[in-house]
């Protein structure tokens, strides 16, 4: 993954925060592992979570938080009431499962994707926002 691709993915995530979380806060941190040639980035906000956004629209849904977080990564799926939306997390997932690992934690819903894993976990305690962690090798 080159620098422009990394930048592109960070902007996709930050824009998602701006559009969906209603949070004015975005935290970004990263760590470089020189021996492994690996970069790990985490981007978090303290706003409205993905499960909460779905439940605002579909108050009767009985789906778990992890199901709703996973569903938000499907093509075209968005909680925004406009046709032209729903591709940010989809492109992120599509790109990263080939290159490394993507984790999304929103409220109690945690999803983990890489080339071999597509996992949904519901945590006992909620995270107060959404956190996205990317880990990948630098070529």
């Amino acid at each position: 993954m080159d620098l422009d691709q990394i930048t592109e993915n960070i902007f996709e995530i930050v824009h998602n925060v701006k559009d969906h979380s209603q949070s004015n806060l975005v935290l970004i941190c990263g760590q470089w592992y020189p021996n492994l040639n690996k970069l790990s980035l985490a981007i978090a906000d303290d706003g409205v979570t993905i499960p909460e956004s779905f439940r605002e629209l579909f108050s009767d849904t009985q789906k778990s938080d992890s199901f709703l977080v996973d569903y938000s990564t499907q093509k075209g799926v968005s909680t925004k009431d406009v046709f032209d939306s729903g591709l940010g997390l989809y492109t992120l997932k599509k790109g990263f499962t080939k290159l490394g690992e993507l984790k999304i934690l929103s409220k109690t819903g945690l999803v983990i994707y890489n080339e071999n894993i597509d996992k949904q976990i519901d945590l006992e305690a909620p995270f107060p926002g959404t956190l996205i962690r990317l880990a990948f090798l630098i070529k």
Binding site: D4, Q5, T7, E8, F11, E12, H15, N16, D19, F54, F58, D60, T61, K63, L68, D70, Y71, Q74, K75, G76, V77, F83, D84, S85, G86, L87, G88, T91
Partner: protein
């Protein structure tokens, strides 16, 4: 005769990321399409493109008048990276699919009853 439209000149930055900047592009495209003028989008010197930018900049214009968009708007392939072009194509496909009317019905079905598949 097609007019070359350099995206960077319209949005005045090499970062095509915000929907506010994208509105400038959609306004230019809408005007050109309404005048039935052909345009070629030039993405040279654009470093970063997000789907959020493309949704507003081209997706909405495409969705509102698909036939006219196809007739009058094209992209200069030598000015756009492979990743950016794949996002551009995805945005047009999504714009069309979500206007088909089945999208909300499917979302309702998934969230209230079934599974994703």
């Amino acid at each position: 005769m097609s007019e070359n439209i350099k995206v960077k000149d319209i949005i005045e930055t090499s970062l095509a990321v915000s929907s506010d900047k994208a509105k400038k592009l959609s306004e230019v495209l809408t005007t050109k399409i309404n005048k039935k003028e052909d345009v070629v989008l030039d993405f040279s010197e654009i470093r970063t493109v997000t789907t959020a930018f493309l949704n507003v900049g081209v997706g909405r214009v495409y969705g509102e008048n698909k036939d006219a968009f196809k007739k009058h708007v094209s992209v200069n392939p030598s000015t756009i990276t492979e990743l950016q072009k794949s996002k551009y194509d995805l945005v047009l496909e999504n714009s069309s699919a979500k206007r088909s009317g089945e999208y909300l019905e499917k979302m309702n079905e998934v969230l209230l009853n079934g599974n994703k598949n």
